[in-house]
């Protein structure tokens, strides 16, 4: 079955340009691993960026730059390319880059109960803008109450959920924002495992503390 719900241009262009923060990028990159169609869209955006690079202003001084480059690089040994690790026999459920963030596939995870049969794992990133978690919703049950403001990305990795008339299965990604009232419910028959990225709640209300957060690393 191919993916039916795709990532929007707005997220994809920010991923292509490298502006998108780590938490959102994790959901976008994991969706891309499962969706050849969106990888083609990404390639088209990078192609557009390449065409813009061709047209960008020239600045001259290339003789000096080339001389420096030759002296510094050409005679230096080429980096060794790391051999690719042998693939396990059964393909993992969780694709990269998500699997590395979790330190293993589904069987290796330590879930924490959220109540009503739902579980979660918080995923650590360096970015303070988002909150990233893996959710396991019991078959036939709604996604636990989660208040969030701003944007939210939900990527299905196993099972499926329904939101209104839409069905989201493996590889599908749902974009929502704070205005949208939605009550996703896991489909009967299989637990639904999904990656959910939301805008992080601000821990400190004082703007001066917020300003200091990245410096103090709190």
């Amino acid at each position: 079955m191919s993916v039916k719900h795709h990532i929007s241009d707005a997220f994809l262009i920010d991923y292509a340009s490298g502006t998108l923060s780590e938490g959102w990028s994790l959901a976008v990159a994991t969706h891309l691993a499962l969706c050849p169609k969106c990888r083609k869209r990404l390639a088209a955006m990078e192609g557009a960026a390449g065409a813009l690079l061709d047209k960008s202003a020239e600045s001259g001084g290339e003789d000096v730059a080339w001389a420096r480059f030759k002296a510094r690089t050409i005679d230096v040994k080429v980096e060794e390319i790391k051999p690719v690790a042998a693939s396990p026999k059964v393909p993992p459920v969780l694709p990269e880059p998500l699997r590395s963030y979790l330190g293993g596939d589904l069987g290796d995870l330590k879930w924490r109960a959220l109540g009503r049969g739902a579980y979660q794992i918080l995923i650590d990133t360096k970015d303070t803008e988002t909150q990233v978690r893996l959710l396991r919703i019991p078959a036939g049950k709604p996604v636990p109450e989660h208040t969030h403001e701003g944007r939210e990305l939900t990527l299905v990795l196993a099972g499926s959920f329904r939101d209104g008339d839409d069905l989201f299965a493996r590889g599908d990604i749902e974009e929502a924002d704070g205005d949208l009232l939605h009550t996703p419910t896991a489909t009967e028959g299989e637990d639904c495992i999904c990656l959910a990225v939301t805008e992080a709640p601000l821990k400190f209300s004082s703007w001066i503390v917020r300003l200091m957060q990245p410096i103090l690393k709190i």
Partner: protein
């Protein structure tokens, strides 16, 4: 309009296929001569790309050198079937810039057993992608300046859409619709391919 030669190829496209050839030679034979041609074409372009973010010529020069070092080292990994050297070099420059600002951009891995590959045969893909690269360049020529400007800011300035809106003095919705219109146009030029 681009001048066409007897084969009906735009001069621009010829230059691009020349870059594919040169980079493949560097990948296979580590040819310094072939690399110098690539360097002289891309170094000024990457430098101006880096200046957009750093606003500092010396820092930009350093990041350009780092990018070209990565291009030299990774030339063997360039897949000529991708047919688009500028897009590939753009992604390398982008990643050098991300590292310089100590940010993280998780990426998918083609070799991951859970990766869902495209079902197009590699031989067809090669032809398709060369064609697409050409179609895309042609379509870029037809975009209105205001859309090109927003794309340039999004890809090169490394700022959010709301910052672009503020810099241009237009509402955020206008920036988003220009991006959407630009990609709709690019997509329709690749009709049925995306």
């Amino acid at each position: 309009m681009n001048k066409k030669n007897s084969d009906g190829l735009a001069a621009d496209d010829l230059a691009k296929s020349e870059m594919v050839r040169l980079l493949s030679i560097v990948g296979r034979e580590r040819s310094v001569e072939a690399f110098e041609a690539i360097f002289r074409y891309y170094a000024p372009r990457i430098r101006s790309f880096m200046v957009m973010k750093t606003k500092d010529r010396q820092a930009a020069e350093e990041l350009m050198q780092e990018t070209m070092t990565a291009v030299w080292n990774k030339a063997g990994q360039f897949d000529p079937a991708r047919g688009n050297v500028s897009a590939w070099i753009y992604t390398i420059a982008r990643n050098v810039r991300i590292d310089a600002y100590r940010r993280k951009r998780p990426e998918f891995d083609f070799n991951d057993p859970a990766f869902v590959a495209d079902d197009v045969a590699p031989a067809d893909q090669e032809f398709q992608q060369l064609q697409e690269a050409q179609l895309l360049r042609g379509a870029m020529e037809t975009l209105p300046e205001e859309q090109l400007d927003v794309l340039r800011r999004a890809f090169f300035d490394d700022v959010s859409h709301s910052t672009i809106a503020r810099d241009l003095g237009v509402p955020l919705g206008t920036v988003k619709s220009r991006i959407r219109l630009a990609f709709e146009k690019l997509r329709s030029s690749l009709e049925g391919r995306l």
